[in-house]
Symmetry: C2
Subunit: 188 residues, 2 copies
DNA sequence: TAGGCTTGCCTAGAGGTCCTAGGCAAATTA
DNA sequence: TAATTTGCCTAGGACCTCTAGGCAAGCCTA
């Protein structure tokens, strides 16, 4: 029999595609094994366990998201940068729902430090260079922005905004306008 | 043998306590059966399946959260109401992590309409009576507030703010200050 | 209080996921 | 080509979900 040629990376990549198709919570070792036409037990020489697989997926997604956002940010500043960041973030979540859910996994400090999770906050900070903010206001603003972006796409996907006809796009644009205006006149 | 006296309500209540202890994703039919000292199969005359159990838990948590927030809001207005709302929301999430996770379940439109999910948006709207906002700005503001609150507690619990020493409480207070100031000068 | 009825919890069992131990054969190295 | 490493296998245990069918506890009615 020819071998399937599994590696941790190929498994993680396939897990990411699977996550977007069937949802993060349905990314299972067995499903992944089925996808490669091998037995479940075969995967355990490449990944430690199901949790390890999900962590790898989370790290992959965080790196992808950071790349997308970095691209969007290139050469922009001020409100332009804020909007580009936010839209890139939200677009990634929409295009890759399973991967995005993975980015919300609680990672242990070690993994988080190694992964692109930190890069994320760093880039949010880059946005703020267009505004007149210094520590500790900067950290507060980073947290506020991140919270709002994540909260919005998270609620949007949970269907929390369906109850009202007002367009979800319009509210998003207004939220960004609001945040821009808030950053420009950050209260003392 | 004496009967255990199970009902859907008692199961849901116990599931809520279990969720806060071991996490929402570990709320399982078997664990619940163990808690009552009965066999798993016995639960299926009270709940349809595991998903049904989790939906009931979500509905319970949404109702509790709505109650807490309503209490906090009583007799307050303006920034006072905003802060009370936000703190009640966040405190519930901290005190009942499993239940709070349950509130984020995607409910089908029917269930969502019946449950307290709608009451939530309605109360957020009550806050805004202290500010000078009218449709569609009001809906946009409701969505922004809800997003920020949810995003903040969600990231906080995922450990996203651990990387920086700046106090999580301080950033939260600043976020509320910021939102208040934003609502008072909502850009046109 | 004795019968019948409803209903609650039971046993039995099938199917799925997670994971370990140990084996054989393919690929790599000497 | 022989030795070693490595990859995927079979076998099997533990746990979770859910269905079908059974027995008896507790309720009605007479």
């Amino acid at each position: 029999m020819a071998r399937a040629g599994l590696t941790a990376d190929r498994l993680t990549q396939a897990a990411a595609e699977l996550a977007d198709e069937v949802g993060f919570e349905n990314v299972t070792v067995s499903a992944l094994a089925r996808h490669f036409g091998v037995k479940d037990a075969s995967l355990y020489s490449h990944i430690r366990n199901a949790h390890d697989l999900r962590v790898r997926l989370a790290v992959l997604a965080l790196a992808e998201l950071a790349d997308r956002v970095a691209d969007a940010l290139a050469g922009r500043s001020g409100k332009d940068a804020l909007v580009a960041f936010a839209n890139a973030y939200r677009r990634y979540a929409h295009e890759h729902p399973g991967r995005y859910t993975a980015t919300q996994m609680a990672l242990d400090p070690d993994t988080a430090a190694t992964s692109a999770a930190g890069k994320h906050a760093e880039m949010t900070r880059a946005i703020l260079r267009g505004y007149d903010l210094w520590e500790p206001d900067q950290t507060d603003a980073v947290r506020l922005l991140h919270s709002t972006f994540h909260g919005y796409v998270s609620l949007e996907r949970a269907g929390a905004f369906h109850s009202h006809p007002r367009g979800v796009e319009a509210s998003w644009t207004r939220a960004l306008d609001g945040l821009d205006s808030l950053l420009r006149s950050w209260p003392a």
